[in-house]
Each structure stands twice: as structure tokens, then as C-alpha cells.
């Protein structure tokens, strides 16, 4: 079983990245759970969700000890740094996150300038999908094909098929950045 935490500002698409990964897992017939940190405010502030997936049943869907953390902003890295499992991986949005915040030697820090990469491919809203691609590769649980098929299946069902090409490209950029 793998546990991932996705964290950032509201609007950076972290809840969607979490959902993408969980839907890819389901697409592969894994068990999966997605659970947000929820509150009374809808917009602004920080947002995060926890995704667990694997071949076995998931007994506790809530946040515990993530194998992978996605930190899209500085407050997320500060908040979740102590939680990450020893030997775990932290993926940071290096366009915004100051990697000096990391004080841990027992984790693998991966810096990805996802905002720059998204701008370069002319899909500024695709930064989160680029990060999803990177996390898929780092997790080692999905091939690039499985990830793309799982993602497109989800967006198709949500009626957002028109971004298929852009999202596929964004996911590949993230996947191949690692």
C-alpha cells in the first residue's frame, strides 16, 4: 500500500492530482481511497488530500505516514515535512517552493519547475498534471501508458475530453522529467 499527500494553495489543483492518481489506481484494479482535509471555507487558504492505493484493502483511509508528498507551496512543505515516512519522496514545485526548508536527510527531495514547464508547453493550468506524471514515475506503480489511459478515462467521464491532448502531453512531460 502506498500513501501520498498532495498539498498546496486552493486553486493549484492538488485535490485533482490526488483524484487522478487514485483513479489511475482504480483503473488498474487496485484498491484506492481519497480523503481531503475539509473545512467550512471553499476558496483560498491551503488544501490537501491523502490518497492510498494498493493491492490489499485499505483499512485506514486517513492521513498517516506518506510515502510521497507533493508540496506545491512553502506552507505545505513546512507542514507535512515531518510526516513523510523515512526513505520517502518529496516532490516540490521549485518555481515557488524554497528547498532550503527541507531539513531532513532521510528523504529524497525532487525539484520540478512545474509552472515553467507548463508555461513552456502553453498550458499554464497543466502544472498539476505535470506533477501527477512525475509522481506516477516516482511511485513505480504505473507505466506511462496506464497513467495516461487512467487519466483520460477520468476526464472523459467528467466531460472534459477537450483537454485530452494537452493533458496527455503534460503528463508525459512530468513522467519523463524524472
Amino acid at each position: 500500500m502506498k500513501e501520498c499527500v498532495f498539498a498546496g494553495f486552493g486553486g493549484q489543483g492538488v485535490l485533482t492530482v490526488g483524484l487522478l492518481i487514485s483513479q489511475m489506481a482504480t483503473y488498474k484494479d487496485y484498491h484506492a481511497t481519497w480523503i481531503p482535509q475539509y473545512g467550512s471555507a471553499m476558496r483560498g487558504g491551503t488544501a490537501n488530500c491523502t490518497v492510498k492505493f494498493g493491492e490489499g484493502y485499505i483499512y485506514n483511509p486517513s492521513q498517516d505516514e506518506p510515502d510521497i508528498l507533493l508540496a506545491m507551496n512553502n506552507p505545505s512543505l513546512v507542514k507535512f515535512l515531518p510526516l513523510v515516512k523515512p526513505g520517502g519522496t518529496i516532490v516540490v514545485n521549485s518555481d515557488l517552493v524554497d528547498s532550503e526548508i527541507n531539513t531532513r536527510k532521510d528523504i529524497n527531495l525532487v525539484e520540478i519547475p512545474c509552472l515553467t514547464l507548463a508555461k513552456e508547453m502553453d498550458h499554464p493550468r497543466g502544472a498539476n498534471v505535470i506533477m501527477a506524471g512525475a509522481i506516477v514515475k516516482l511511485s513505480g506503480d504505473f507505466t506511462e501508458r496506464e497513467a495516461i489511459d487512467g487519466m483520460n478515462d477520468m476526464f472523459r467521464k467528467k466531460g472534459k475530453e477537450k483537454y485530452k491532448e494537452l493533458n496527455t502531453k503534460a503528463l508525459s512531460i512530468g513522467y519523463n522529467y524524472i
Binding site: 482504480t26 475539509y38 484493502y57 483499512y59 485506514n60 483511509p61 486517513s62 498517516d64
Partner: protein, 352 residues
Amino acid sequence: MADMMKGNVAIAEAAIRAGARLYAGYPITPSTEIMEYMSWRMAEVDGVFVQAESEIAGINMIIGGAACGVRAITASSGPGISLKQEGMTTLSDEELPAVVVNMVRYGNGIGTLYSAQCDYHRETRGGGNGDYRCIVLCPSSVQEATELMVLAFDLAEKYRMVSVFMSEGALGQMMEPCELPEMRELPRYPWGFDGKYTNKKVGIFDRNSRDEAVLLNEKYNAVKENEQRWESIDVEDADYVLVAYGLPGRASIGAAKELRAEGYKVGMIRVITAWPFPEKAFQEVNPNVKGFITIEANATGQLIDDVALTALRTIDKKVQCYCRPHVYGIPSVKAIKQDFIDVVNGNMKEVY
């Protein structure tokens, strides 16, 4: 392969598929998505959706719908359900079926937004006046929630009583793969008002409460006998049995399995019907069991009372009953294992 679905959305869609054609209620976190979904979905199935001016108005509309023979549902959370108690005792008095969903949040008074199990006593005993009972169903996953929603309506109709769907804030907010139940089209209950005074009129002074009491007890005894539901593992030879429900129940199964693999004789009972309490699950427990341990998401420990009473009735000797209330949230598998170790090492005092 099933798609990821949010708990509250799955609960609402399952209710529609179980034949619900009236929703009336007032929004409150963490149950609001049920109402939001119903606001457009009810229209698609020619049902009625009302955003009432208050929880009290909402439950009274449910009384009206049920009296007219329509499958009716309302949803809220802790303090909102407090407001519905008068309506729920009225439904019970009139023997009208309905489903009341409580996506429990933590706290007394207005409470907080944390996911919790602090309403156990209120839901299992009934918070209104009188001595009525409600069937109380407690899911531990999104999939199970959809199945129990169908059951909630079927049992409410079969016994003509209120089914309380007692879940937790976190289950409403989380997503899991989920297969929805089949769509059912149901006729109105034959005994409902039809606008033609077809059925016999019973005035309030025509009622005989002593005769009704006999029938009421017969009904509740039938429910106790026939409708207990639970999931249990490894209780036959267990030295200790964990007892929990909902999401902490799910995590406790994981803890019991890991403890078993580490050589401890641990069993687990996950309560699915908090009322009728699954006494039959305890009849299968090792008669030489040393203790029951409840794992709860509240401050004071509530499930422990039912566990201790049931242990007294089902096990010949006095068994120690322990409780670890985690206040709110879902305790981790690791934390539950530690609770067990605390009991074994004498670091937790028994409650009963």
C-alpha cells in the same frame, strides 16, 4: 472496474435508486453534498426536493411525505439532527417509515467540523420524547454506505419505523471506488393518504396505549431478533476482542489482523447495526475471553456501554471491558495496536 465516488454523492444516489422521492432538509457541513446532489437529481426522477427554512421544517415535510406513502429522506449532522428529534419521535409514534442521515461531526452544542462518533448514545437511544426505537445503520466504506442506504429504506418500510443512517463526516467527504445499486421504481405505500379517505381514520382519543405498547414491543423484539448485522473476525479463540463501528471499525479490523499475524490472539467485531445491537456476534466469542476493547471517535466512550451490557448477557463470567476514545478522526492502525498493547501491559484501566 468502479469509479471513484464521493461518500455523500454515493449516499444520495443510492437513496434515489432505493426509491426515495422526497428530500427535505437544511444544509450543514459535512452532509451538505447530499442535499446539493438531491437538489438537481430529484427533479430527474420526478421526485420532490425542498430546501426547507430549517431542520425542523425539513423533518416535518418528511412526516408529510411518509404519510402520503412516499419514500422520504433527510440528512444533516449533529446539531441539525438535534433539531429533528421532535419530528423523529412523531414519525415513530405514527409508525411512518423514513430515513434520517447523520454525517456525524464532533462536539457538543454547535460542535466542530471534525469527523466523529459522538452521537452514538443519542442515535441508539432516541433523542426525542417517548420510548421509541430507530434502526441505526453504520457504514465503514463508500460501497457499504450505498448498500446500507437501500437496506435503510427497506427496513424502515418493512417495520414502519425510522432508519437512522449514522455515518461520519470523513466518510461523506472521502472517495472510493463504488458500484451503485440497481435503480428501483416503487409504488407508494398502500396505506398512505391518497386524498380520498380510503383508509380508516383513528382519532387521538381512539387510541389505546396499553394495546399499542404490546404491539410496539412485538415489533421491536422482531427487529432485535431478525435484523442484527455485524462483521467479525477471529473471535472464537480470541483472548481479546476489539469492538468498533464505522471508519474506526474498519481501521480496527486492520489492527486486529496485524496483531494476529504478530501472534496475539485478537478478534474483532465491527458493529453494522448499532440498534439492534449485534448481541449474536458476542455469542460466538471465546467463553474464556479476557477482555473487550472499544475503539471510538468521541471523548467519553459510548459504544462501551452496549458492549459491557452485551458481554454481561452473553458471557458466563465477568469480562473486563476497556475503552479508548480517540475523540475525533480515524485512529490509525498503529494507534489501535498501541491501544491493545496498553491493555495487555496494564496501562489502561477497565471501564466496566
